[in-house]
Amino acid sequence: MTRVRAEIVLPPVIALVAVAALAEGAIRAFGVSPLVLPAPSAVASAAFERAPILLPALWTTARSVLVGLALSTIVGVGAAIALASTRWVERAFYPYAIFFQTVPIVAIAPLLVIWFGYGPPAVVAAAFIVSLFPVIANTLAGLQSVDPDLRDLFRLYGASRLATLRKLAFPWALPNILTGVRIAAGLAVIGAIVGEFVGGGGLGLVVLGAMREQRTDLVFAAVLYASALGLALFAAVDLACRVTLRRWQRHDAGER
């Protein structure tokens, strides 16, 4: 077990150390200004020294991301269920759902500040908007892939629409829903940081402040924290996926 872990964990760690060392050496050798590209050691020390600023900022951003992601999951699944209810509803509204995928969040972020004011609500809205579409699209795909024979079976026993949704369609689509949320998690972090650029607060604000102070090392440190947040979220959803999928093997017709 430990050996297997080591095989998985060690290579990327070694690669990271090697690349960092190379970058460190090159930056020092060529005398690159820390304003342009700070050495990895400088970024690391900024990440540690400025932790009193970075950690609360991380927490603020994480909260907005989590609220935004929770909203897009609830709204996205609900919207997909509505879209899947009848062919007519899907035809009428799905094109507008795609709008959420194409909306340029950077352009719309100032508008969110106008609507929601400075602070977390605008940031949450930005995280929500960019993470909504993958939830809708994946949930819809899952709901529409329900085995038609099982639908017949539910009809045969007079199951109501609600019972069919609860006991068949929703659990059937759950792996797709989780896939959608996994994709949405990464996007929500991006949305939140962009939202913070205009709406203020969190790591986005730290990045802006550090830029004005020409503290490029702090910019990098904040980016590092943001990446860690995205990675942690992705890992959490991925774990949920795997635990669920273990039981949710839909390959009933494996002998075909």
Binding site: D149, L150, L153, L156, Y157, G158, K167, P171, R247
Partner: protein, 272 residues
């Protein structure tokens, strides 16, 4: 042992359902193939407690016919009646349906899958647990009651599917090529068990298959359908003993019935 045509045992508990199809037509429209006449003027009368095999080449509308009987589809013209009632009328008649593949809910264990029909019909938990355990015991899966479908073999999954169909104590059991995907031995085993279940309960069984051997082994009566659109080409009472053990497969009468069924199927297959 010289029992000729079999009637279900008189002590059989639930009386089977009578099935009447009269001049049933069903047409589908598909973008790719245009107008598809699946069933054209099928007329069939099945008495309570009969075991009927519905034979025909693939795509001959057998499955469509079965769905019409189950009330999962409506005929364009003609009528389907189960004990003089429309199968789509509520409350729906007690019908067990077994598909080509097991079609179990992968997130439920064996017990949960077998309980499902009772759950949907609103039977209280206690009662449905007991009924599900009984049905599972009938198909010989007592030991696997807590296993997930992914942990079962193809034959076991099919047994679960059969138990799920039986759990509501149906008066009509519809099977759509249920064992076609299984290996020869498992299939023969399940055929024998199905036959025994039928003899024990006296319910009406309508079994769709494309195998003449399976049809002759299982049924009292074989109905051969022509290819698309489905029409009845042969309706024959099989002259075979009640007891159907595997020895029957080498019996001369069995061979004769097979030959008759083959002859009826040949034009349906569109031989040269």
């Amino acid at each position: 042992m010289l029992a000729g045509r079999m009637q279900p045992r008189s002590d059989a508990r639930p009386q089977g359902t009578r099935v009447r199809l009269s001049d049933v037509h069903r047409v589908f429209h598909s973008a790719a193939e245009g107008r598809i006449e699946a069933v054209a003027g099928a007329t069939l009368a099945i008495e309570a407690g009969e075991f009927v095999a519905l034979l025909g080449p693939s795509g001959s509308g057998k499955s469509t016919l079965l769905r019409l009987v189950a009330g999962l589809d409506r005929p364009d013209s003609g009528s389907v009646a189960l004990d003089e009632r429309d199968p789509t009328d509520a409350p729906r008649p007690a019908i067990g349906f077994v598909f080509q593949d097991a079609h179990l809910l992968p997130w439920r264990d064996v017990l949960g899958n077998v309980e499902l029909p009772l759950e949907l019909l609103g039977v209280p938990q206690e009662a449905r647990r007991d009924a599900a355990r009984d049905a599972i015991a009938r198909v010989g899966l007592d030991d696997a009651i807590r296993r997930a479908p992914s942990q079962l073999s193809g034959g076991m999954r099919m047994r679960v599917s059969l138990a799920r169909a039986l759990v509501i104590q149906p008066r009509l059991l519809l099977l759509d090529e249920p064992f076609a995907a299984l290996d020869e031995i498992t299939r023969a085993q399940l055929d024998e068990e199905l036959r025994r279940l039928w003899a024990d309960t006296g319910i009406t069984v309508l079994f769709v298959t494309h195998s003449t051997v399976e049809a002759a082994f299982l049924a009292e009566r074989a109905v051969v359908l022509t290819g698309r659109p489905a029409r009845v080409a042969l309706d024959r009472r099989l002259d075979l003993p009640v007891e159907r053990a595997s020895a029957l497969r080498s019996d001369a009468r069995f061979a004769h019935e097979l030959a008759v069924l083959h002859d009826a199927l040949r034009p349906a297959w569109g031989a040269p």
